[in-house]
């Protein structure tokens, strides 16, 4: 695999993650517990979509086969997506969505912080811009985690159970493959194993403030680095891709 191919795949991995999380968050529109939160979730969905567009445009450019951001979003199939299993999990209740968001945001925070130092200019500049957004997302959702954890007995139980359930999807975030090895050598991307202690510490601090217990370590799901997903992704894509697939010659 060339550096260029590795970069293409890495951009898809990051881009797909943002795109699918944006999709899940956008499903909350009109359904949040209060109107202010409806706006906040939509805003995060919009930021994630912006990141996805940048990354898919960059991937398309690296590939050099004339595909566009839309071709990559709308014309790839289930086995060609590389987002984490975590972000494709259904929204569940508000606690479940916030737990999913926290686990992802803390990871994104440390990842993008490292990417600002990338020797690859497009990734570094995207990271610098995205980091500001991610800091806001992280602050917003950690405040909710603390409120829910230290709110009522019901909210405490809901957020604790959500965290316990989603924990099994966090191992995968740190998995690396050939793509990582190639790009780490070029100082373009960080070694994910080095992010894990920081990720762990930040979560522990938030859990403590939220009076939550850190979930027990156990079995971890895997697959997305190879494009093997949960059944949920197929439905997301069926919905998202329906118009361009049904009318392939149309432009919108």
């Amino acid at each position: 695999m060339t550096v260029n191919e590795a970069l293409f795949n890495y951009s898809l991995r990051l881009g797909d993650n943002s795109l699918i999380l944006s999709h899940r968050l956008s499903e909350w529109t009109g359904k949040a517990p209060i109107l202010e939160e409806d706006l906040a979730i939509t805003n995060i969905a919009l930021d994630k979509l912006g990141q996805a567009r940048f990354l898919l445009q960059y991937a398309a450019q690296l590939e050099g086969k004339g595909r566009s951001e839309d071709d990559l979003a709308y014309k790839r199939s289930e086995r060609e997506f590389y987002n984490s299993l975590l972000v494709e999990q259904p929204n569940g209740d508000f606690a479940f969505t916030m737990a999913r968001q926290l686990l992802n945001d803390v990871f994104d925070f440390f990842l993008y912080e490292e990417l600002t130092k990338s020797t690859n200019e497009p990734l570094a500049s995207l990271a610098a811009k995205s980091l500001k957004e991610i800091k806001y997302h992280l602050r917003h959702c950690s405040e909710w985690i603390i409120r829910l954890g230290d709110g009522t007995e019901e909210s405490h139980n809901r957020i604790q159970n959500s965290m316990n359930e989603l924990w099994a999807y966090t191992g995968e975030l740190f998995e690396m493959n050939e793509i990582d090895s190639i790009l780490i050598k070029e100082n373009m991307v960080p070694d994910l194993s080095k992010l894990k202690p920081k990720w762990n510490n930040m979560l522990c601090e938030i859990f403590e403030k939220a009076t939550l217990k850190k979930p027990e370590e156990g079995f971890m799901h895997t697959g997305s680095r190879k494009g093997v997903h949960s059944e949920y992704l197929g439905f997301i894509l069926a919905e998202m891709q329906y118009l361009p697939r049904a009318y392939p010659s149309a432009t919108w």
């Binding site: 956008s26 949040a32 919108w252």
Partner: protein, 313 residues
Amino acid sequence: MEKKNPEDSFQVKIDAEEKIEPKDWMPDEYRRNLIRQISQHAHSEVIGMQPEGNWITRAPSLRAKAVLLAKIQDEGGHGLYLYSACETLGISRDELIEQLHSGKAKYSSIFNYPTLTWADIGAVGWLVDGAAIVNQVSLQRTSYGPYSRAMIRICKEESFHQRQGYEIMANMAKGTLEQKQMAQDALNRWWWPSLMMFGPHDTESAHSAKSMKWKIKRESNDELRQRFIDKTVQQAEVIGLSIPDPDLQWNEQRKHYDFGKINWEEFTNVLNGNGPCNKQRMANHIQAHQNGAWVREAAMAYAEKQKNKKVPA
């Protein structure tokens, strides 16, 4: 010298185009009238998020998805300004939402129509937001200060919404045959309901006379409707779509378009809860509100704990 009663000095102020502010004296009926109108407007923004939200996950390009998300976010924001404006009249947001759920407060009937295809997202932006703008531009001069200021802010964003809708329609109208058919079909279904958004004819309108005297409303339903028709007919011509009204024609004498009869029976039916989506829209709002109850309780409980922590022992 004879002392003026408060209602007279209130009217003098209105006639002099001075704004009424929350702390000023106002007739109870003026207050009730405003609460009814502003809350209906706020609820419309919020319920209006549903028919458009219906298409976010299916938007046909990432750019279209981003624009639609931003637009729906704006609408939620408009709902917030309007709820705040309404709260200055001495009613809480909880009460307003309760009135919506009990059916005491209304929202615009237009949102009881379904968005069936992507072209409907275009039609909603072009026609529904287009009609709303005509009304809102006029309301920038409404006599109640907080409402007027909310309208000025909202109008700045609404013109972007209308362009977004028109752009979708224009792209589809010059696209494939199927796209053009979809666009025409959406125009056919949304045209008449959009005209109904301005409310009954002036001769039939229950709230109009008092609202005009108090300058809550500045122009009549029929004047606003005519303005909307005149500007929209030309926009349809530019993109090659036809307005579904065989009686539509330019009247050189009036310098306005004449148009066909509006089906007021349909209007009344939808208003009375029999539109295609009345039950669905309300059920969704109630469901979301109920599902969020434990979250709001948790936030209150947490805030309470924080407050207690700050009290020195």
